[in-house]
């Protein structure tokens, strides 16, 4: 390789993302590394639950589809793959990847697995830890804990890349660290070089939601148009050994990369922009600037960082009751009044049956379900009643949708299109766990 920079492509931005853009990047994007970021806050808890109940493998259900789309090309070109699709079962996911490689006749495939993010044992032994969100002791939810995973850093990813494996599979790793890891490995950066870690973390944060920096979640027709959004492409970043970063996309792919899309994504899910805490560093983005150097190319500069904190953030998933939901639509003259009456009837009937809820919401979709009530808004032609109740009592949760459906013959005129659902709530809170209590290792899984 004669070129200086490393080109890292983003192949997914959430568990259920499209995979055509990843195939496009490996085929025509000239990338060195492909990162599939597929773990939202609750995903591990959900996958843990699926595995416990025999309803799923514990890793990302789209692993096979994604690898089928890219693996042969990655193997032929030597493009390395890094992914947190391992979710609650990274070892099982690595074995599945090897099986897929065998089916595709990919020679010499192996998968390096980063193990150690599952810290349920450590937490069980430390009930006195404080939950960051509620301020309560961890003890209050330990009995209902479904999963506990530390956000591991780029050092573990780099260690896994030091193997000869084409693919690195992880469970919980901080999203930007999935991108910082390949840079640490390829450029042999010191894990104490905070200027470079800062630029790399900024790049990782810009890439981690994939299409959200190439024009996804951006279009507002007439005000902010995005060309060919249906064929939205995913981004890549070119990073030099000195830490210069340029974000881009393929010319033939849909979307746009410019100051506007980069600014929106930089601030996405950010609290204090001077202190974005990752396992690798504390990023200060307040002096970052973007320069449009060519069409769909944005240079990122000015990221700074201070040293990493002495603890890992741990996401704790736990069972927290049920959410019962029912919906029914009303249209035409006086639709809003009929829908309101329907909601009042459901509330009264649930009370008459003796059910109570921690939270019972009655919304009119089309009027107030997203941004709350505002009497100055005009009444819509049609609205959709939505009743949602949160409770520890499964029967109460089931009654919500049942009472909404009963409105057909027992409620106001003209209700139509019922929907009901009950789901178990997997809540998430966080604790901080001292780094020395978390030990990681890399295990190599080879094609059978």
């Amino acid at each position: 390789m004669s070129r200086q920079h490393l080109r890292i492509g983003a192949g997914a931005g959430f568990a259920g993302d499209r995979w055509e853009p990843a195939a496009e990047l490996v085929e025509r994007g000239d990338i060195d590394v492909l990162v599939f970021e597929c773990l939202a806050e609750r995903t591990i808890a959900r996958e843990t639950l699926a595995r416990l109940r025999g309803e799923g493998p514990g890793y990302n259900p789209k692993l096979e589809a994604r690898l089928n789309a890219v693996l042969e090309t990655c193997a032929a070109k030597g493009i390395r793959i890094v992914s947190n699709m391992g979710a609650a079962a990274p070892l099982a996911a690595a074995h599945a990847a090897c099986t897929i490689a065998a089916e595709l006749n990919v020679a010499d495939f192996s998968c390096a697995v980063l193990i150690g993010d599952d810290v349920r044992e450590q937490l069980t032994a430390r009930p006195e830890l404080t939950l960051l969100e509620s301020g309560e002791p961890l003890e209050n939810i330990l009995g209902r804990m479904a999963s506990a995973n530390a956000y591991l850093g780029a050092d573990g990813v780099a260690e896994a890349l030091a193997s000869d494996a084409l693919m690195v599979m992880t469970g919980r790793v901080a999203d930007p660290s999935l991108f910082v890891g390949p840079l640490l490995h390829s450029f042999n950066w010191s894990y104490e070089d905070y200027d470079k870690l800062a630029q790399a973390t900024a790049a990782g944060h810009l890439l981690e939601c994939a299409g959200q920096v190439t024009g996804g979640y951006f279009a507002d027709p007439g005000m902010q148009d995005v060309a060919d959004l249906a064929r939205l492409g995913f981004p890549f970043a070119d990073i030099t050994p000195d830490g210069e970063v340029t974000i881009g996309k393929l010319a033939e792919a849909g979307g746009r990369v410019d100051r506007a899309t980069c600014s929106q994504q930089l601030l996405y899910e950010i609290d204090d922009p001077t202190a974005y805490i990752t396992p690798d560093c504390v990023l200060d983005m307040s002096n970052i600037s973007f320069a449009e150097t060519a069409l769909d190319r944005v240079q990122v500069s000015g990221a700074k960082a201070t040293p990493r904190t002495p603890s890992y953030k741990v996401s704790v998933g736990y069972f927290d009751g049920y959410l019962g939901e029912g919906q029914l639509s009303y249209g035409g003259p006086n639709a809003v009044a009929r829908a309101r009456l329907a909601g009042e009837i459901v509330e009264e009937r649930l009370a008459l049956r003796g059910f109570s809820f921690d939270d019972l919401r009655i919304d009119l979709i089309g009027l107030n379900s997203l941004h709350g009530p505002d009497p100055s808004r005009p009444e819509p032609y049609e609205v959709r009643l939505r009743v949602a109740g949160r409770t520890d009592n499964r029967k109460a949760a089931e009654a919500v949708g049942w009472e909404v459906a009963a409105l057909y013959t027992n409620g106001p005129a003209g209700g139509a299109g019922d929907f009901s659902n009950v789901r178990e709530i997997l809540a998430v809170q966080s604790v901080l766990l001292a780094r020395e209590l978390v030990s990681t290792r890399v295990e190599l899984v080879r094609k059978p």
């Binding site: 979640y217 951006f218 600014s263 204090d272 922009p273 927290d320 939270d359 997203l370 009530p373 949602a388």
Partner: protein, 113 residues
């Protein structure tokens, strides 16, 4: 006084994206140009945003300024209904709240002179 006739909304000056962090939501407001940024700096205060979100969140609201990006980042605390993982709301993440931010009217400062 002619300020009433020059009323515009945030959407005329900026674009926005919302993200969630548990029971708090962050909304970036990014101006199209520096004149728009200056006006937002003057008018889109923490108090103005809290007022617009009063039926949805208890607050407080924190505002961060990023002049390089012509951007403001608002962090709104104590969104009603609890955190993203337990709320009964339709929009559990608060991701649609960028729309409410863009709808905030701006009335302009007191006329000069």
């Amino acid at each position: 006084m002619n300020t009433a006739t020059t009323s515009i909304t945030v959407r005329d000056l900026a674009h926005a994206r919302a993200g969630d962090k548990g029971a708090r939501v962050n909304i970036s407001v990014i101006a199209y140009d520096s004149a728009g940024y200056e006006r937002l700096l003057r008018e889109l205060s923490e108090a103005r945003v809290l007022e617009a979100f009063t039926t949805l969140a208890h607050g407080p609201v924190r505002r961060y300024t990023l002049p390089n990006l012509l951007a403001l980042n608002f962090v709104i605390e104590n969104v009603r209904g609890g955190s993203v993982t337990t709320t009964a709301a339709l929009d559990i993440h608060g991701k649609s709240l960028s729309g409410l931010m863009l709808a905030i009217p701006l009335f302009g400062n007191a006329p000069k002179g």
